[in-house]
């Protein structure tokens, strides 16, 4: 969607440049075009990279149990309004009619997969993807995270945490 918006915006800029070039002296037109391009570079939204292709089987078997246990609380990433959200038994259910304790549904698994996969998108390489930085304690290389507990602890205290490693293995196996 953002790419489409960007393509549309760029097309408008090109049309504007051509229009100006046709009715203004070349020198002024070129200067105006350069200014427009510069302005466009400043105002266009940043391109968000596509999330990499990730393994759904590994997600179901390895990653989902970890993020459901560590992230999927109602007040945290069990909230469907969050960009990263995970749903399942004993936590928030994707559909209110689903019994709290019923096994995970295919839809919940699919949505959780999509939301988790979106957290692998990163301009700076997958090792700096939000899924690998947000839950990690800041002094271990993580970034600010609302899930830091009142004692000041991140979800995972170090990169060697075996549960964090589950996320790392899945993320690094994903193909851009």
């Amino acid at each position: 969607m953002r790419r489409a918006v960007q393509r549309f915006a760029k097309a408008r800029i090109v049309r504007a440049i051509m229009s100006m070039s046709s009715r203004r002296p070349r020198g002024r037109g070129a200067a105006a075009a350069a200014a427009l391009v510069a302005a466009a570079a400043c105002t266009l939204p940043d391109v968000e990279p596509a999330p990499p292709e990730a393994d759904p089987v590994a997600f179901r078997d390895k990653v989902y149990p970890v993020i459901l246990a560590d992230c999927g609380f109602n007040g945290c990433h069990g909230d469907p309004a969050r960009s990263f959200a995970v749903f399942g038994p004993g936590r928030r259910r994707l559909r209110p009619e689903t019994d709290l304790d019923a096994p995970v549904t295919a839809e919940e698994l699919a949505v959780s997969f999509t939301r988790a996969r979106s957290m692998l998108a990163s301009r700076d390489g997958i090792q700096r993807a939000p899924l690998l930085r947000k839950p990690l304690a800041e002094d271990a290389g993580g970034v600010s995270h609302g899930g830091t507990d009142p004692w000041g602890h991140g979800i995972y205290g170090s990169k060697t945490d075996e549960r964090f490693q589950v996320l790392v293995v899945w993320a690094l196996a994903a193909t851009p």
Binding site: M1, R2, R3, E48, P49, A50, P51, E53, A54, P56, V57, F59, R60, Y64, P65, L68, A69, G72, F73, N74, G75, C76, G78, S83, G88, P89, G90, R91, D99, L100, D101, A102, P103, V104, T105, A106, E107, E108, L109, A110, F113, T114, R117, S118, A121, G146, G147, T148, D149, P150, W151, G152, H153, G157
Partner: protein
């Protein structure tokens, strides 16, 4: 989000097939459930006491009701090795179902000899009303940790004792849920109490209140529920 539709659909279809092998479902209302895997609806070893080993407490799920008015008595400013402390928590009979999880733990992740009174010695307020006279409080050991839990069966008090083996700081975490009649996490009042006892701290990490004042403040619900995102003081981690 930008996705590649074809592969994405394939992955989602795969997941749909994979989800066709369900696991057993069980009620999430008893202490053993917190030890069970999250995919079965359990806590996966997290008891939500709010003490350092758990970190998080009840409010990550329960929300929306009036904060429970819990009175805490017997907390020392600073623990002294070999001294027995008798701790008492009481809450009102206001028609809500109260459940509680509590943990005392030192910096090494060990509990300071936490014990409950024998069932025969427990006062009536510690007992269930449904079933009448049943034992409400129980403990579960997780390695060197000991979690105390009170089942939502009508009890109105918890008494326990602890005896630290050293003068080092002991951390306390308590999570109390006062549930409404609905079988969900909405509309439930939550109180969280976190304190460190020792090393001259003498205060409450959520408000820096003095112990004498703490009882009154907790009863008023003033310091009972810190905002998780606000309090980020550096504390030693015990796990």
């Amino acid at each position: 989000m930008i996705a590649r539709p074809r592969t994405s659909r394939t992955a989602l279809a795969t997941l749909a097939l994979l989800a066709a092998a369900p696991t057993a479902a069980r009620a999430f209302s008893e202490l053993p459930r917190f030890a069970e895997p999250a995919v079965d609806g359990g806590g996966e070893g997290r008891y939500f006491t709010g003490a350092p080993p758990d970190g998080l407490s009840c409010s990550v799920c329960h929300d929306g009701g009036p904060t429970p008015a819990v009175t805490v008595e017997g907390l020392p400013d600073q623990v002294v090795a070999g001294t027995r402390y008798d701790l008492s928590l009481t809450w009102p009979d206001d028609g809500r179902r109260y459940a509680l999880a509590l943990e005392l733990v030192d910096a090494d992740g060990k509990h300071p000899a936490v014990t409950l009174p024998a069932a025969a010695d427990q006062p009536a307020a510690m007992k269930c009303t449904t079933p009448a006279g049943g034992v409400a409080a129980s403990t579960v050991d997780i390695g060197a940790r000991r979690v105390v839990a009170v089942a939502p069966c009508g009890a109105r008090a918890l008494n326990l004792s602890f005896t630290p083996a050293s003068d080092r700081t002991v951390y306390l975490g308590v999570g109390v849920v006062a549930a409404d009649d609905k079988n969900d996490v909405a509309g439930d009042g939550v109180l969280e109490l976190r304190r460190d006892l020792g090393a001259g701290s003498g205060g409450c990490n959520v408000g820096g209140a003095s112990p004498g004042l703490l009882v009154a403040l907790v009863a008023l619900g003033v310091v009972g529920r810190p905002r998780r995102r606000r309090a980020r003081a550096s504390r030693p981690r015990s796990r």
